[in-house]
Symmetry: D2
Subunit: 283 residues, 4 copies
Amino acid sequence: MRTYRLVIACPDRMGIVAKVSNVLSTYNGWITEANHHSDNLTGWFFMRHEIRADSLPFDLDGFRRVFAPIAEEFGMHWHINDSAVRKKVVLMASKESHCLADLLHRWHSGELDCDIVSVISNHDDLRSMVEWHGIPFYHVPVDPKDKTPAFAEVTRLIEEQQADCVVLARYMQILPPQLCQRFAHRIINIHHSFLPSFVGARPYHQAAQRGVKLIGATCHYVTEELDAGPIIEQDVARISHRQNVEDMVRLGKDVEKMVLSRGLRYHLEDRVLVHDNKTVVFS
Amino acid sequence: MRTYRLVIACPDRMGIVAKVSNVLSTYNGWITEANHHSDNLTGWFFMRHEIRADSLPFDLDGFRRVFAPIAEEFGMHWHINDSAVRKKVVLMASKESHCLADLLHRWHSGELDCDIVSVISNHDDLRSMVEWHGIPFYHVPVDPKDKTPAFAEVTRLIEEQQADCVVLARYMQILPPQLCQRFAHRIINIHHSFLPSFVGARPYHQAAQRGVKLIGATCHYVTEELDAGPIIEQDVARISHRQNVEDMVRLGKDVEKMVLSRGLRYHLEDRVLVHDNKTVVFS
Amino acid sequence: MRTYRLVIACPDRMGIVAKVSNVLSTYNGWITEANHHSDNLTGWFFMRHEIRADSLPFDLDGFRRVFAPIAEEFGMHWHINDSAVRKKVVLMASKESHCLADLLHRWHSGELDCDIVSVISNHDDLRSMVEWHGIPFYHVPVDPKDKTPAFAEVTRLIEEQQADCVVLARYMQILPPQLCQRFAHRIINIHHSFLPSFVGARPYHQAAQRGVKLIGATCHYVTEELDAGPIIEQDVARISHRQNVEDMVRLGKDVEKMVLSRGLRYHLEDRVLVHDNKTVVFS
Amino acid sequence: MRTYRLVIACPDRMGIVAKVSNVLSTYNGWITEANHHSDNLTGWFFMRHEIRADSLPFDLDGFRRVFAPIAEEFGMHWHINDSAVRKKVVLMASKESHCLADLLHRWHSGELDCDIVSVISNHDDLRSMVEWHGIPFYHVPVDPKDKTPAFAEVTRLIEEQQADCVVLARYMQILPPQLCQRFAHRIINIHHSFLPSFVGARPYHQAAQRGVKLIGATCHYVTEELDAGPIIEQDVARISHRQNVEDMVRLGKDVEKMVLSRGLRYHLEDRVLVHDNKTVVFS
């Protein structure tokens, strides 16, 4: 069923819900899902509606004209998306295939509602897997001595393909600050630890060193500061003394896949609202 | 913060949210939490609002007068409760203390927002624990040959104490049908299995017999049919071949306590809406 | 590292461990992992050792000759396998790809230590996915009016390929009793419910009907009685009123994949011992 | 059933298991549970046996005499405990009652196999709860300007009562280094975060600040370095944007109780072996 997704964040005050639901009701908008959240700490209000597209007498532009005055009155940050307009996603990977294969299969079986426009990798290993899915594969090697040309090419590809969203599916390279800024809240990373524990390289080795009893993974938006962006989703798996680092890597892969695919799904369905460095996720 | 909790279930149609939020907005009602659910299968709509009591210009009766026409217009099943009016709860137990002690401690430490008006038990074992908490304890033995007098006395006590809610904290006796009917959706039971598996007696023995790898517990409203009422909450714990029935009983206790206290909390906060034999839980 | 896996089940009595570890010690066997379990209920003892192959002065046949007298003395059911001899696995699937794709990727990335000798399906849909992995695909349609020819062909293929193990990766057909018996404890199924709840067809619909708060999956050995074989592994995922049957199917897929791949891994590594209708899993 | 628990850690080499099981077999020791672990990283071997006390022809001292030569030969760190000799435990608490009440109830209902010899607290609030259980309560206030007298008194009490184990059930004071050293691997703390995240004060506030999607708790041995000792057990609970710090505190309490009681149970049953700063837990 085709829906419009209306997503709003604004300073909290009386009457927001009434005003928004009145507009929707006036035009006979059929709400299929509604979520609200008042954040006491920041005094902000967050709201998401799914509205049946066929219940409204206008298209997105029509909606925007009708809604703009309300949005202005309440100082809203807002957007409305059409579920029928699939987001364009660029996947970035390195040599490890588990997250990439998982996302490709979900996409291929119709579970992930987006267009995967390309896969960019700094290695050529996963080309055949990607191309079997009918998706273009770009091999952009990264020269450790001068990464600038590689990231210029990556940026060029992302822009050329008009990506709405970039997913770092275990890409293993740190993106330059300009790229992080230009695509703020549109680059999703999976980090293989339960952040803020074990930031940076080799988190499973760090976990083994510390002797933790659970390992985790964190899906977050990429910001300039490494592994410090707004967290979208996290999960953990139990380990014991019997698991060495190799076992942790293997068990961790399953957590990474699950957490990344859930986080991406929330993002694609406009369920994630970022405020300061935190997220509201209407899952 | 004192709130009113407005809980609504009605056939789904356009304009419900607008109508309700308009009323609230008209009287400057400050919504601190709102939840909606449209059930596609049954075509029903469920809704719960928490509204700051001090933001409205009238008390509950005033609200009811204002709201009654809308409720009638939409064919609503509805109620509104005042968070400052604590529900009266009767706990029923037998010899096992884990669920009772857990609820008593949560109540004693202020975590469970209700008045525990009494504990009724078919055994006298837990009297001292209950009385230390300053709660009256009633020992009502159940004669296996004729249970009628005992349940007459139980019913009398519940009514005398004007209980809003009865919690079977491992009471181990099957309530008579009339009692189930009279307090429909107000008697909460904890069953020590992941229902619908292992209905009836000795579920951990049944679980051991079947060789399951997880054991569970189920919090549900009591109906005439044994262990078949609407489920409020469930959870599980992992076991292996190493756990015998005694271990399962011990591990299961922790699941039972958690599940019962969560389910009761949802009920006390008017978060559970029953429709047919299922629940909507706005947790 | 190449190991021998010595797996033993026998009536419990004094001295078993001493006897077995003495033999291993006498021949300088280097034990890398050891697990024991005494089952009080049945009076049976279960034991699994991994021994570095290069630490022993003989091959498997040599070991068997040395060990046979001990095995006889204690009435052992036992076998020893070489980790370097990969088990031959036949996967069976229908139209749903999630379990199959998951197993194929785990195998392809080296995580699943076996030879997948073929995929047999009653539909042709997944051929391309299978063949991309370099694995033969057999389309054996099942005529609902007469299933005998199909299962004769399936049996022929399994035997021709000398499969050690058959995995029903959402095959959706009930195997005939003779097949179940011939490959007892070697056919692994994934059932999409937390058994013994929701045996048979359309378990997610049954779960939605009952209003459970968790859905699950069960990996078990196939026996003649439907969904009643020894359970190897189970897990669950949380749902709420917001999830309809389609959501449950989607969320359930992830549980199914995880549970099946874990169960198969345990089987491939000779970690599952069946006794009566239950399993000891030395995970 | 009364058992002896034989716990061994030593450099790994051939023949340890054979030697140990031979001794046990020689004296007709009936092993009810056995666990082994070879740690590849450190080259150490860990082993725990439970042996029926009534199957051996001698008492603990007799066992020690027989076993000493083997222990010396293999350079073992080892001890053997009698399950019938309950460990003496001192609980330390502050004002928060949830962990204390949980441990007291488990002990009172026979689930926790130890003697709780006293409760020491820097506040007098929980006296009545403790004394209802028949356990002496010591109020030892801590002067923030000079903590030395308080910890001298605490140390004196612990020694006077010959405690085998001290449990900090949310004691909220940092123990002085000498105390940590004197009772190394015998003081158990519950920290209300998933360590190594959120070391130190107010971890739930830190968690809210970072916007994590899971909160956790960690049971660990206390060392001189704050929240850095060997981890015994950890667990987590899911949260979302809807939970504020107060909710996190409430939800966290349940995780803390579970994790502390599990960790303590492992310790009491001699299931925890510490090596370097990590634990082997034969749970």
